[in-house]
Amino acid sequence: MPATLPRPLKLLLDIGSWLLTVAITLIGLAAFTFFIGRILPIDPVLSIVGEKATPEVYQRVYLELGLDKPVWQQFYEYVLKLLRGDFGVSFSTSRPVLTDLLAFFPATLELATIGLVIGVVLGIPMGVASAYWHEKWPDHLFRIVGLIGYSVPIFWLGLVGLFVFYYKLGWVSGPGQVDVFFTGIVPRVTGFILVDAAIAGEWEVFGNAVSHMTLPALLIGYYSLAYISRMTRSVMLDQLSREYVLTARLKGASEFTVVMRHALGNAAIPLVTVIALSYGGLLEGSVLIETIFSWPGIGNYIYSSLFSADMNAVLGGTLLVGIVFVLLNMLSDVLYRTLDPRARSAA
């Protein structure tokens, strides 16, 4: 038996090694994005000064961006700044990238979270039902629903959704986060429009924001539902064919207990990872959804920055998404340990 470390020390080591992994991941990500940015056939200087600027102006901006230095040195300086928490300044907004991220990310986070809740709340029961009534009509129905959500282009669904529910029926509000009437009424506290409206007690704005958010959130929800229900179905099919299910039934457990407690309880472990990853995917922001709904989210921010070669903005955005994935991974690890008694005892 090797000498066991005292508990606090072990915890410290665990945290240390985790931090190291995270640091390596993020620096790798930054390096990858940085060098890809340098290979891209977009000239950042030209995208600032335009095609017709004089050579002197070109040169000034070239030097301002530090492009005269070797790429390695540029990267080294970038990382040094990063370690001080400085993401640099985006030339397209003239603001620190961190300010930009704080401005654009909440809109995506809010939409993605609601979308994910819809996806989980509806997707898991659908998956369970599909597996339980395997090859019966509920299974067929839910699989078709899932297949449509997964395969129909989301921009098309978005436009059709706008046409039907906004234009024709008038059930929901159109593009943007709130009506122009309500723009700028609510002071920005958290950046989440619903939370801010609630804090300010502006319930009319809150209602308007809900109305604007409904359609994009439902679409994103539908999209994640499609994935989650399919995954739930396949995991549940596997669990329901296990012997413990038969044992539970033989012992006289009710069908509800067998399916919801035993089988779903076991299926929950892999599903946590599925949900965490699909949440991560939603948090990257959907450029298509954000474009159609004029949603000021992170997806469009990174996308339009990339097209103007605004590399500080692209790097900042990419790192943010990377951090989100790392955090979600950590969260799913923690949940994993809580849900799985074997993982708990091994720890």
Binding site: P41, G50, V57, P138, F165, G170, G176
Partner: protein, 535 residues
Amino acid sequence: MRLYKALVAVALGAVMTATGAIAATPSNTLVIADAIDDIITLDPAEVSEVGGVLASQQIYQPLVSFDPADPTKITGVLAESWTVSEDGKTFTFTMNPNAKFASGNPVTAKDAEYSIRRVILIDSRISFIFAQFGLNKDNVEQKVRAAEDGTFVFEVDQKYAPSFVLYVLSSFTGGIVDSEVVKQHEATLESGGNDYGNAWLKTENSAGSGPYVLTKWDPKVSILMTRNANYWGTPPGVERLFLQHMPESATQRLALEKGDIDIANKLGPDDIGSIAGNGDIQVLEGVSSTMYYFGLNVRNPALTPKVVEAIKYGVDYQGIADTIGKGTIKVHQTMIPDGFLGGGINYNPYSLDIEKAKALIAESGVATPIKLATVVWNVPPYPDYAQAVQATLSQIGVDLDLQVVDGGPWLDRYRSHDLDIWFGLWGPDYPDPHSNAKAFGNHDPSDPDGTKGNLADRFGWNSGKVSDLVNQAVQEQDVDKRKALYDEAQRLHTDTSPFVFMFQDSRKVAMRSNVKGVVLGITFSDDRYGGVSKE
């Protein structure tokens, strides 16, 4: 089964919670939908993107302006009158005593001096617009100055047509800022120099004399402008202008029909077509000076004058305008756009004539098929135009090797003229014909590759007489004579140049029918909202 019912209930519940939408914009606010995520600055000394120009057009005013319906009519704005010296090199402006800034300060020659100088002094990306008059950092303080008697003096390096100088000063680059206010916000650059208030004016503040002031620019999201309480002209009929980022044409169309926006600036041909029958919507037609063309690199020995002419007969101009353009473009085969001085000559000598084109190629003696490396941007409508041209040219023995590329390589190949044909567009930088005439007609023997922006040289063409004509025109003091020179230069250019001008954009801006008083500009985005009201 219970599970299933629960599911349906939840789904329905989610839809039901959505409240009904209020479909109308506030009556005191004009909501304009546009794509504004490309704007990087609102400082008039460097503004250049479409949306940025649109905003600064409402906030800042130039010394002089012109009537978009008749550009030969140049009128004073912040300047009341002006004189040109005998030698044509010194312009003296008497300032308008009534004009004042949003701060309440009167507009003086000192402000004009400061505003024009700072374009040069901050090394702005659009400094080339003024630098073409021989202005640089060393001489700008001497050549651009407020005189003792309160007039503003603008000296140029040689004799130019006065209309040329005035048009340039009328452009967005010539917007005058409140020097007293801006000087209070000057900052020091990292290099130690003065930023002349650039950082202050760039994103958050304005200091103009126009009908609106900047309230808030939320980059990539919206721009809010509020009525200038101190405006010295007739106050506009709406309290606020709200420029909303809405990049998708179909979305703009729905929002416009629904009444959630007042003006849709980015409607594609399909969407313009489909709102035609809606009585709540009016479509304003204006000119846009953007032109679509392709240039032939005549360094390629196969591109002899006969072959170039054959290619001009091998394009189905009207067909493309009708089927692809659907009313958003009109056939235009000369280098100066309609709406500009010298434009509107309606000289469109070419149409699709396969037999004639074939005969010309046979005469040229060049062996067919002629293979030509063709570069086009991968953004609509360029590839559509290029493919249509490719289809008809293949019938006359000219094969286009169409390379559809990203914006970066597209411009790179153009600059390094490493191609045979380049499909692109041209938008003038200021509302004077010289912007186009210089690019397409001027020949500079000292710069054979056109690195300084002479496209004629870039495409390997010695423009000869055309060059003489355009250089004569830019110095001609008499407006009518100047116009006649451009007439002659354009016809010769269209007949002999390796540029195939195809179309000029016809701008169609859709708006709610209760919106009155919008004046569409003549360059890409100098629309004027100063006289807008909503009924």
